[in-house]
């Protein structure tokens, strides 16, 4: 194909000249939710989703998508279906009044709880509870909050379903501070501009 770019000129003809083929719906990967800890000691916050064929690939893609530029010390990645979601509380409403507090029998397991304080913000990690189901975990999570805390929505995910960052993996992010060429602060054109303006005016 004729192009200014020699690499485009070298592209193979792939035989979709006029009517391109439909994209067959074969490669819809699973959906995973990603939580990022921006600094040591700060809570994990929800950053968005990635699509991947398994949890390990999702973890790699999450690292590329959400921690390429911003400081990060650790990641949580979990399959979207493994996250239970509470109803949304309306203005003035308290989310815990919307939850069924009846606890069923069964084995206690550890759940991670994420809370939303305001619409438009991100869900942040508040802690873990032991419960027999995700619904029960959300109802029990009330004890994690100070009295009067505003919570309008909760997510709960079983601790063992989450892909955590291991201690050895933490050096993933140690090169970030060296990559100054990706910072606005590395592009100080002021002196050059001043010298140019003095020379020309």
């Amino acid at each position: 194909m004729k192009s200014l770019d020699p690499r485009v000129e070298r592209l193979p003809e792939i035989g979709i000249p006029e009517q391109p083929q439909s994209k067959p719906p074969l490669d819809q990967f699973g959906t995973f939710e990603v939580f990022v800890q921006p600094k040591e000691g700060k809570p994990f916050q929800h950053e968005g989703a990635v699509h991947a064929p398994n949890l390990e690939m999702a973890y790699v893609l999450a690292k590329e998508t959400f921690t390429r530029r911003f400081v990060c010390t650790s990641l949580f990645v979990v399959l979207t279906q493994h996250v239970a979601v509470s109803p949304f509380a309306d203005q003035g409403e308290h989310v815990f009044t919307l939850l069924n507090k009846a606890s069923a029998g069964g084995t206690q397991e550890s759940y991670e709880i994420f809370a939303l304080a305001k619409r438009g913000k991100q869900h942040t990690h508040v802690g873990k509870v032991q419960a027999t189901s995700a619904q029960a975990a959300m109802a029990q999570a009330e004890s994690l909050f100070a009295a009067g805390a505003v919570v309008i929505n909760l997510w709960a995910a079983r601790t063992r379903d989450i892909r955590f960052t291991s201690t050895e993996e933490k050096d993933f992010w140690t090169t970030l501070p060296e990559k100054k060429f990706r910072d606005a602060s590395d592009y100080k054109g002021g002196d050059k501009l001043k010298e140019f303006l003095e020379r020309t005016t």
Partner: protein, 328 residues
Amino acid sequence: MYGGGNTFEGIKNDGLAEEDPGKLAAFEARIARGEKIEPSDWMPQLYRKQLIRMIEQHAHSEIIGALPEGTWITRAPGFKRKLALMAKVQDEVGHAQLLYSAAETLGKTREEMIHDLITGKSKYSNIFNYPAFTWADACFISWLVDAGAIVNQLANAKGSYGPYCRALERICAEESFHLKYGHHCVIFLAAGTAQQRAMFQEAINRWWAPMMHFFGPSDKISAHTQTLMKWKVKMSTNDDTRNQFLDMYVPKIWELGFTVPDPALKKNTDTGKWSYTEPDWEEFKRVINGDGPCNKERLEVRRVAEERGRWVREALRSEKMAYVEPLA
């Protein structure tokens, strides 16, 4: 980077008459209170449809916008410029990932969006249908096209849909590097040799019309536009964003001793509005409908990428994994 409201198309039936009046009133009251709408909330069909279209076009623009600049990575002057341009192009592709996810929360799968891009059904910002002939063209894109995009994106970040606003906040934070980098490149051309200066002047001359097109034609103030503005889907008119761009960047272009190829361009100091020669909107329509210098190449490159990645997607595919909408 991306072009704003220019790709809004008219809607024949807004479907508002069929919406539940009680739910609609509660939805509008929430937006009027300044609260964000989240994916699980009730929303009118028109709202959903327009947001999908807008976020999807934005995502496609990031992908396609990486192509004219990507061309210049291997030829950027010096190691440092190559590193920076590579990082910028990588950012643009990353922005598309964030935006596709935000659009998915409204119910259109990523697969469908990519399908609509490669079959030519979905639009992307028209400006990327023009070629980057020289390094100076790449600098024009990095500085001024990104500047235009930031004007749009900062406005849209104050919109009503939570996932889109969150994606835009991340994007805008990264764009500040693009803008400073672009300006830095242009200052170096401006302060360089006569040949370098001429190169950038030629780039301005080539890109000015597409840059004016970038913000879209004057909006017809229809009931439809007013509804979208009330719902904080469209945050300002195309003329207002164009004016804001001119106000912020024309003085910076002039400061560097370059000219803008429009003798009518001047600011009315009383009203704060810029007057200019209307760009050729017939050309805009022609190019956006497929007849531009690079439309074919842009889609072809994307299709080849799709085709070449097929075996990887097939190899990775797992029957056990099912696609679901992201949560937020």
